[in-house]
């Protein structure tokens, strides 16, 4: 079930009401939330609820076994659990990719075709709940989290707002909330409705428009489009993927907030970043932090020689790229950002060594740094979005040699791209004023305002919503 659907609106109205009625009763509340979340997950393919249950069981038993163990046994138990969880992810997400590449190598070496090529269906959300399950077990191993009761772990991993596409919420963040009775008289509805409305507008209007009318036609036939169209498609994709993904997680955070839960922020104006390191502090923050805490730091983090740190960054970004999809284009994208991070880190160190400020100073320099960073990020998105490496390079060549008319470059396309970027530069107090105005209205007026906002979104959006990009991750 996806958020911007009538099915979900009805589902949420029922779940919202029942869960608040059940709040005084912890056991029934948890049982109901598990049921609701599993129904939500089963909506697209009921068979995969067994996978979710299997991941939950592995994480729960692993946590229970890791907690009392000591020494090497503790470490071995933790690793066994993590490998089992990654095994499920690997089978469903990476088997096909691995098998094809192994097959092509063995075939080229005349070793036959020893690996069966199976079509494994990718369950939605598996990358997200697997990473959450891993963080749960590793946090217990590190001693920062107690093993939770089975029902709590089940709610934690299946809680429907984050189930399909995050944010990746840690056990340390969500489990205490699951174990705490929430206050039925303190629902932060102003922030929640804002997140949901803004998320819907980004997802249903901006992302769908750009994907349908600018991005998809150009990426489908790169050879057929002019330089200006290719440029608009690349910029358009940068706005589309931001609107699509941040919109979806904004809705998730808002829905959780309506039920009394607080999720971590996932996007913080990413296209205002002044360098790639800054970008990763602003883009898909819960994944960045997950990779930092469960991959980069265990690899050694910032400790060690400069070469070792560069190695750690590259491994982290390569695997981060592969997390997004089983394809070489994602690996290239990860490597690109890894190299960018390493270069950025060395340039920063060199500036400090020369006695200069680590970051650009002055409005002109900051503006230039933001402009350059956005273009660098866009170049990465080109490889991320292109179907093949050949298509990506074809688009780059069209940027230089693609003369001709540009029917896809319309004032509306330009407006959508500018709006997507400019929205990240709006001063905070504009939003504060708008929300304050809303907060001070009477109930009927508030409902009316939201109804008109919803009408505007559904009217301006296409009569169908473009596929959600991160759905397949």
């Amino acid at each position: 079930m996806l958020f911007p659907t009538i099915d979900f609106a009805i589902f949420f109205a029922v779940v919202y009401t029942v869960q608040w009625l059940l709040v005084p009763y912890a056991g029934p509340w948890k049982a109901f939330m598990v049921l609701a979340s599993y129904v939500f997950y089963a909506w697209s393919d009921w068979r995969f609820i067994f996978l979710l249950a299997a991941s939950t069981t592995i994480a729960y038993i692993g946590g229970r076994l890791v907690h009392p163990a000591t020494g090497r046994r503790r470490k071995a138990t933790m690793w066994t659990t993590v490998v089992l969880l990654l095994g499920l992810l690997g089978w469903f997400k990476y088997y096909g990719f691995l098998a094809v590449n192994v097959d092509n190598v063995t075939h080229a070496l005349d070793l036959g075709r020893p690996v069966p090529l199976l079509a494994v269906t990718l369950p939605v959300g598996i990358s997200f709940f697997t990473f959450m399950a891993i963080s749960y077990v590793v946090d217990i191993y590190r001693g920062v989290l107690r093993p939770a009761r089975g029902i709590d772990v089940t709610v934690y991993l299946a809680f429907f707002p984050h189930l399909i596409a995050g944010p990746i919420v840690r056990g340390t963040e969500l489990l205490p909330q699951i174990r705490t009775m929430r206050n039925r008289d303190d629902v932060h509805y102003v922030e929640a409705f804002w997140l949901i409305a803004a998320g819907l507008a980004k997802k249903v209007v901006l992302s769908s428009y750009l994907s349908t009318y600018v991005v998809d036609p150009v990426f489908a036939n790169p050879h057929q489009h002019s330089a200006l169209e290719v440029l608009f498609a690349i910029w358009g994709y940068a706005v589309q993927i931001y609107a699509d993904f941040s919109g979806y997680t904004d809705i998730a955070i808002g829905l959780a907030m309506l039920m009394g839960f607080r999720f971590p922020v996932n996007f913080r104006r990413p296209y205002t970043a002044i360098d790639l390191q800054d970008f990763w502090r602003r883009w898909h923050i819960t994944l960045s932090f997950w990779l930092r805490d469960y991959l980069y730091i265990p690899l050694g983090g910032n400790r060690g020689t400069e070469g070792r740190v560069s190695f750690n960054i590259m491994v982290t970004m390569l695997l981060g790229g592969l997390w997004h999809g089983a394809s070489w284009t994602f690996v290239i994208w990860g490597a690109y950002h890894g190299v960018g991070q390493v270069i950025g880190r060395r340039r920063r160190a060199a500036r400090i060594a020369r006695g200069e400020p680590a970051e650009p100073v002055g409005r002109a320099r900051v503006a230039w740094a933001r402009f350059v960073t956005f273009q660098v990020v866009c170049l990465g998105w080109l490889f991320f979005r292109a179907d093949t490496l050949g298509d990506a390079f074809a688009m780059l060549s069209r940027l230089v040699v693609g003369w001709g008319s540009s029917p896809l470059v319309t004032p509306l396309a330009l407006l959508a791209i500018v709006a997507g970027i400019a929205s990240q530069y709006l001063p905070d107090n504009w939003l504060d004023r708008a929300l304050a105005f809303f907060a001070d209205r009477r109930l009927v007026v508030q409902g009316g305002i939201l109804g008109l906002v919803l009408l505007a979104i559904t009217t301006l959006g296409p009569q169908g919503v473009a596929p959600f990009i991160y759905y397949r991750f």
């Binding site: 090529l117 269906t121 990718l122 629902v187």
Partner: protein, 411 residues
């Protein structure tokens, strides 16, 4: 502008435990047993108010979101009332659009229930004149209110050349209503290909545009519409769309790949026919025949590409049946006006069954189908496009000459 809400900002940290204010909770939310069943070997410092662990790498920035919640919370019932008001107003204003969406959805219980629920509200909305808000917006945006899928991908590739196709036969020039099938496209007499299809047809169409771009004196125009077919002209009217495309593009070859959405109830002028019901096959076949006749009447030959094997056995059986209906209609077309190309040789595995992986021209294995087991990957589309290109040459005997100047050229 009223001043901001006077409520002070909520203090940082995850939500405070509100249990004390509720009084007499029938169930204990605390989890005293947790972690103590086996006796912990490690000291655990977790606390409900504990912040997320910090790794000591502060250059990644701050992680907390809930540090700033400046507006006063309210009761869950008040929020429910606001939400219901919001949906109620939206429902009333948008009911006519929702009613049209329900009308064009697949036949079945869900459609019936939706229409029963939305119908009275839509009538009320029209009576009160509220529906004009959405209607006016649709007009401003240049859309037909509720008129079919707007997530369509019409790809313009060439300007129309509104001239009948001249054919040189034994030294004399004549004009024919049917396309020439044994000729060499020339600048004066290009091969104009119109590609129409549903979402699977789009998977073929986009690589086919690229494949034909390698040949001189060939122009292409792709009109693909996701979620469409011949079963539900009330949702998207393909015959009407074809009419417009034929008039604008003047093609001499129409490549059709439609059908993946068609095993469903047909809406007919006299009612509806469920898939599998007696009469369904005849009604669907008549639509296929009419579609072909429409193209033929405009002077275009039809190359109908059948649906490939599907992963789902039920859908596969249904589409095999549809393929057989189309094949029969193609065979019955007069004056050699249509040809059929099975996509099984290009996309089927051993014994023609569904295959997700197939070798490409170099022998390397590629993934040809998307994870849904229905659509084609770009590699799969390219494979089928190569088969179509080959069929144009060998089956239709149209001599395609490699060279620039065809599809890719914008005229």
């Amino acid at each position: 502008m009223p001043p901001p809400s006077p409520t002070p900002p909520t203090p940082p940290g995850p939500p405070r435990s509100p249990g004390s204010g509720e009084g007499g909770a029938p169930y204990d939310w605390s989890d005293a047993r947790s972690g103590s069943r086996r006796g912990g070997a490690a000291t655990v410092t977790e606390h409900p108010a504990a912040p997320p662990p910090r790794g000591g790498h502060d250059d990644f920035g701050d992680h907390a979101f809930w540090e700033r919640l400046p507006y006063r919370g309210t009761t869950w019932t008040r929020v429910l009332a606001i939400g219901l008001l919001c949906f109620g107003l939206w429902f009333l204003l948008d009911a006519p659009s929702l009613q049209r969406s329900a009308q064009v959805s697949p036949l079945g219980t869900r459609r019936t229930v939706s229409l029963d629920v939305v119908g009275p509200v839509a009538a009320l909305s029209r009576t009160l004149g509220l529906s004009s808000v959405v209607g006016a917006t649709d007009r401003v945006l240049g859309r037909t209110p509720g008129g079919g899928p707007s997530l369509a991908v019409p790809v313009h590739r060439s300007k129309p050349k509104p001239t009948p196709t001249p054919v040189v036969v034994n030294g004399t020039t004549t004009t024919t209503t049917l396309p020439p099938l044994n000729y060499h496209p020339t600048p004066a007499m290009p091969l104009k290909v119109l590609i129409v299809g549903d979402s699977v047809g789009l998977d073929l169409g986009q690589p086919l545009v690229n494949a034909l771009a390698a040949y001189g004196d060939v122009s292409t125009y792709l009109d693909g519409r996701i979620d469409t077919g011949l079963s539900r002209p009330d949702y998207f009217n393909w015959p009407a769309e074809l009419q417009v495309d034929l008039a604008n593009q003047q093609p001499n070859l129409v490549v059709v790949m439609i059908g993946a959405n068609d095993p469903q109830g047909l809406v007919t002028p006299t009612g509806s026919l469920s898939y599998g019901e007696p009469g369904w096959d005849a009604a669907y076949s008549a639509r296929v025949a009419a579609f072909i006749a429409e193209a033929n009447a405009a002077g275009a030959h039809v190359l109908w590409v059948g649906m490939p094997p599907m992963q789902n056995p039920g859908l596969n059986a249904e589409l095999e049946h549809l393929n057989s209906l189309v094949q029969a209609q193609v065979a019955a077309t007069k004056d050699n006006g249509a040809s059929y190309l099975s996509s099984v040789p290009a996309l089927g595995g051993a014994k023609g069954v569904y295959a997700a992986y197939l070798p490409d021209a170099s022998g390397a294995v590629i993934n040809v189908r998307t994870p849904d087991g229905i659509h084609l990957t770009p590699g799969g589309g390219a494979r089928l496009a190569a088969a179509v290109t080959s069929a144009i040459q060998t089956q239709l005997h149209i001599a395609l000459v490699p060279g620039v100047g065809g599809t890719g050229r914008r005229t």
